[in-house]
């Protein structure tokens, strides 16, 4: 203990003695540990922590698949769900839910909210009790009992956080619902509902037909199904049984269930499967930054250990065992690491909130990300570990040094140096930095590619929002409401044109339906949109052939549609699609004539190739809510916000607007995850580059200081300053060259990891590879030139002086 205190005190004295060294080492470590801590705090909550439900590993999402392709449909049909519930032996609970949008009225102004219709077992499946009141029970599903609701914590807060709210009525879609309970803040199983209501039929009703009993619906899939595995049942066992059930149902209902399989995905997996590869890549990146930081410190310590060879030799000569010496040096490096660690944690404390504000929802939906004790423990542990890691090198060096030789050498002043460890560290730093730079470069190029993708419409000057009447409104009322809103908006000063559509590109959500051609049983799939005639002009979607939808179509009896180019090309290859008919499309039983072809739109994401689309006119088809797009004359569409709101309320004062944004904003949030990854990789690779440059500079400076005498001799023998520069730079760049080579190889080896995150760029893109190798080389050259210039300024007389 006493020796420990002594070692610590001596270590602190050594650190104070060389403040520049200490500052550089601590800064390098702090940057590495701050990055690692910040990313780990996200990984910890998102990937490593179970979800906040008891035994959450047993909760699975169940959905229908196309069995032959394995493609997940995302949703299931009510009738299939009821059969699964009845026939399975693997789930202790199984429940269905459906997210809806509705209007909450009675407050100061109407509010568009998202709510979830849930079956009776929903809450007991998740096993979380309410914070106030009670949650839904199977009894609530009886018709007549079903006008009750459970509020989310967030909504309850918004409504005033009044405990007496429980038991009172709130107006949802114009109907009174009794609030029976409030869930805790952590309860958000579907990341969707702000309140939950029961369904009167054990299963949520069809959103387009909310008044009808849905229990017999087998060919329309729209519900989310959740299951909790019985104790002792594994996911694989459950998969096997559900597959058997699926085959049985296929035989029983060959029309609706042809090729329908069932997929089971653990809830955690389904929440994080998109973000997981991103987080692992980022964690790998910060790991590299930390390693580079450690390599820097190891280098500095090694350099110092060499200059301290004499001190060590003397200590050894005085009887210190090498174990004692190694301990002394480790104490010093661990002190250093702890200082770096503490500073790093401080940096992370400041950086994590910043990180979260730019995180995509897949991360920011997790509410508890921060420097919890676990993360702090992790940071301290990696600090200690890195302290030991970079402390071992000099300690080992000390144990190796030959007393006799080093005493002699210290006297004579060696012109050489066995810097093999140092060289290896520099090579590693350069290699790792290049890997990070290339990773960031590939992401950057992907991002640029993506932003250059033509979405198929003109996103500038566009204001969009969603709006809808309560489900009790009839289709005719809905259609009339949309027309009225569009007309009045059209009359607004500053507005160029207005259109409404059931599904807007890039905001999420899609609806597909199958159809046939007349006289054929071959089935095609197309995404269904219902739109007003002004929609295409407003969005800037070009008409390629035929005609646009018109106001007359709404009333006309002949059903018409506009399709996109993808559909025209896929379904009518080499033919003119205009004038052709399609049948059995979605809700419409009559044949539909294609009257026009419009350009493709990137609906699901900028990176997904457009799929076949069919646009039907309102009046002939209906939708419970719409997105309204407003093309403005101004480049600041948001300036029209309140005018637009007033127009909608002038049509119906109880109808709220939701998601009012510019289309540019929509695009920005659709690429949020990619931007997040790109930005972070860019930051980390810049850090890595900086640290590697500092490391290289440090090593070369040290080497130069060790080679003063050699340089002096060479100059006395006729070397010009440029020869000396070349000598030093050449030595440094040889190391850099090896590092670059290894970095390129590693990047090629890692192409699998990256390829899933890229868009429009090969994971071995030669331009990115060479550009960043050159960048790395230039930075390394600069880091080399400063010490080399110092070497070239060596005064041979001074250098040769000590004889």
């Amino acid at each position: 203990m006493e020796t420990l205190i002594h070692d610590v005190r001596y270590g602190l004295r050594m650190l104070r003695k060389s403040p520049a060294f200490t500052a550089v080492a601590i800064a390098a470590l702090a940057l590495g540990i701050a990055s690692t801590t910040a990313i780990f705090s996200v990984v910890d909550v998102v990937l490593l922590h179970p979800l906040p439900y008891p035994d959450s590993g047993r909760i699975v999402l169940i959905s229908q698949t196309v069995r032959s392709t394995g493609q997940d449909m995302g949703d299931s049909s009510p009738a299939n769900y009821l059969d699964w519930a009845e026939q399975n032996h693997v789930f202790s609970h199984i429940a269905a839910s459906r997210g809806m949008q509705g209007n909450l009225t009675g407050g100061e102004r109407p509010e568009r909210i998202r709510y979830t219709v849930a079956s009776g077992d929903f809450f007991s499946l998740f096993g979380v009790g309410p914070q106030l009141g009670r949650s839904l029970l199977p009894d609530d599903e009886k018709p007549g009992n079903d006008h009750v609701t459970v509020l989310s914590y967030a909504l309850w807060k918004r409504l005033g956080a009044d405990p007496s709210l429980v038991g009172r009525n709130i107006a949802l879609n114009g109907e009174p619902y009794t609030a029976i309970g409030v869930m805790p803040a952590s309860f958000a199983p579907d990341d969707y509902g702000e309140l939950w209501v029961p369904s009167p039929w054990d299963v949520p009703a069809h959103p387009l037909n909310p008044q009808a009993d849905p229990r017999a619906l087998r060919d329309s899939s729209y519900i989310d199904v959740w299951g909790r595995l019985k104790p002792g049942v594994t996911l694989d066992q459950a998969r096997a049984e559900m597959a058997a059930i699926a085959r049985r149902l296929e035989k029983q209902y060959p029309n609706a269930n042809d090729d329908v399989g069932i997929s089971l995905v653990s809830m955690q997996d389904s929440l994080v499967s998109d973000i997981r590869p991103v987080l692992w890549v980022l964690l790998g990146a910060v790991g590299c930054v930390l390693l580079i930081g450690c390599a820097n410190v190891a280098n500095l310590l090694l350099a110092r250990a060499t200059t301290r060879t004499r001190e060590i030799s003397i200590r050894t000569a005085l009887g210190a065992s090498w174990l004692r010496l190694a301990r002394q040096m480790l104490t010093e490096s661990i002190l250093l690491a702890l200082c770096g660690g503490l500073l790093g944690i401080l940096l992370a404390w400041w950086a994590v909130p910043a990180l979260l504000t730019m995180s995509p929802p897949e991360i920011s939906n997790f509410k508890h990300i921060g420097l919890n004790p676990e993360v702090l423990g992790f940071s301290l542990a990696i600090s200690l570990l890195s302290g030991i890691l970079f402390g071992l090198a000099p300690a080992f060096h000390a144990s190796q040094s030959n007393l006799d030789e080093s005493l002699k050498e210290g006297e004579r002043g060696s012109t050489g140096g066995r810097g093999r460890t140092r060289s290896a560290l520099v090579v590693t730093e350069v290699g790792l930095s290049l890997v990070l730079l290339i990773g960031a470069g590939l992401m950057l190029k992907s991002f640029v590619r993506l932003m250059n993708v033509d979405p198929g419409f003109d996103p500038n000057h566009l204001l969009v929002f969603s709006v809808g009447l309560p489900p009790s409104a009839s289709s005719a009322q809905q259609d009339a409401f949309y027309r009225e809103v569009v007309e009045r908006l059209q009359a607004l000063p500053g507005v160029q044109s207005v259109g409404a559509v059931s599904r807007l590109p890039l905001v999420g959500g899609n609806s597909s339906r199958s159809f046939n051609l007349p006289g054929s049983t071959k089935s095609y799939t197309a995404d269904l949109r219902v739109s007003t005639p002004g929609y295409f002009r407003t969005m800037g979607i070009p008409l390629r052939a035929g005609r646009n939808l018109t106001e007359q179509d709404a009333q006309a009896s002949a059903q018409v549609a506009v399709v996109n180019e993808a559909l025209a090309r896929n379904v009518f290859p080499g033919e003119d699609a205009v004038g052709k008919y399609i049948v059995n499309f979605g809700p419409l039983n009559n044949k539909i004539q294609i009257v026009g072809i419009v350009g493709n739109v990137r609906h699901i994401g900028l990176e997904t190739t457009p799929r076949p689309e069919v646009y039907l006119p309102f009046g002939q088809a209906h939708w419970p809510s719409v997105f309204v797009a407003v093309r403005c004359n101004t480049s600041h569409p948001l300036a029209l916000t309140s005018a637009v709101q007033n127009v909608v309320w002038s049509v119906d004062k109880d109808v709220p607007l939701a998601n009012l944004r510019t289309m540019q904003g929509v695009i920005a949030s659709s690429v949020m995850r990619r931007r997040f990854t790109t930005l972070l990789l860019a930051i980390f690779s810049a850090l890595a580059l900086l640290l590697a440059a500092v490391g290289l500079y440090g090593v070369m400076s040290y080497t130069v200081s060790q080679r003063t005498r050699e340089v002096g001799i060479r100059m006395a023998l006729g070397a010009r300053r440029s020869d000396v520069m070349k000598l030093v730079v050449g030595q440094g760049m040889a190391l850099v060259g090896v590092g670059l080579g290894l970095g390129l190889l590693a990047s090629i080896a890692l192409r699998r990891v990256m390829s899933g995150l890229l868009f429009g760029v090969s994971a071995t893109d030669p331009l990115v590879f060479s550009a960043f190798a050159v960048l790395m080389a230039i930075v390394a050259l600069l880091a080399n030139c400063l010490p080399a210039r110092r070497a070239a300024r060596v005064d041979p007389m001074v250098a040769l002086r000590y004889e």
Binding site: R412, T415, G416, R714, A716, L717, A719, R720, M797
Partner: protein, 235 residues
């Protein structure tokens, strides 16, 4: 060959200016073998550094074969030195990481001598100094005398007209020292002008002229009995 006129060298120290060379007037003729002697701190090394054109911070005139070195820039001085001067150091100053052959090759590598020619010259020199067998060894594998032999070989490989040696035998046994001195004598016979610094009278005996330095002043010069520096010292 060399004429120094009123050459002076001083250092700025915290205590003020310290003079290390004072009013040096010296003529070195082709083919001479000059020995510089004097107590420690007299300025012998300083004078040699000036002659070697390693030092630039002096005042006065320095003529090298009718060229006014004092008017030259650093680059030109380096050129003159590279072409004409070879240097032997007291502590050999061989590069530890280079072999004997590579050490000898070093001065050639800084003069644009073609590689093939260099190899031939290195081979010749190794042969002439009878160290062919040591070519691939590292300096640490040689005795002190052998190391200095390499030092001399390296200093003369490019056939300099002037060979400067600062206590070349300072770290050697007398038998080894004798060997080096004989080598110097031979080189001098072949026409190389030599200036050596030494404490040893025995070494001085190999030379043709001896200069005594004290406190930066030239005290005596065997080829110039008229030199009367004492008055100046006393002043």
């Amino acid at each position: 060959m060399i004429q120094l006129k009123n050459l002076e060298r001083s250092y700025k120290t915290p205590a003020g200016q310290t003079w290390v060379l004072r009013r040096i007037n010296l003529e070195i003729r082709e083919g001479e073998f000059i020995t510089i002697m004097g107590p420690s701190g007299a300025g012998k090394s300083s004078l040699l550094n000036v002659l070697a054109l390693l030092d630039d911070s002096w005042q006065g005139e320095y003529w090298f074969r009718e060229q006014a070195v004092h008017e030259m820039k650093r680059k030109q001085r380096s050129e003159v030195a590279k072409r004409n001067i070879g240097m032997v150091f007291q502590s050999y100053h061989l590069l530890d990481d280079l072999t004997v052959g590579e050490n000898i090759d070093l001065p050639l590598s800084y003069k644009d001598v073609p590689r093939s020619e260099r190899q031939a010259m290195v081979a010749d020199t190794l042969d002439r100094f009878q160290i062919v067998a040591k070519k691939a060894l590292f300096p640490s594998q040689l005795s002190g005398g052998q190391q200095q032999l390499v030092g001399v070989a390296r200093a003369v490989i490019h056939k300099p007209a002037l060979l400067l040696a600062d206590e070349p035998t300072g770290n050697l046994h007398s038998s080894q020292a004798k060997e080096i001195m004989e080598l110097f004598h031979e080189l001098n016979q072949q026409g190389t002008t030599i200036v050596q610094v030494t404490h040893s009278e025995a070494n001085a005996a190999y030379g043709s002229r001896t200069i005594q330095l004290r406190d930066g002043w030239m005290l005596s010069d065997t080829s110039n009995p008229e030199l009367r520096p004492y008055e100046a010292v006393r002043q």
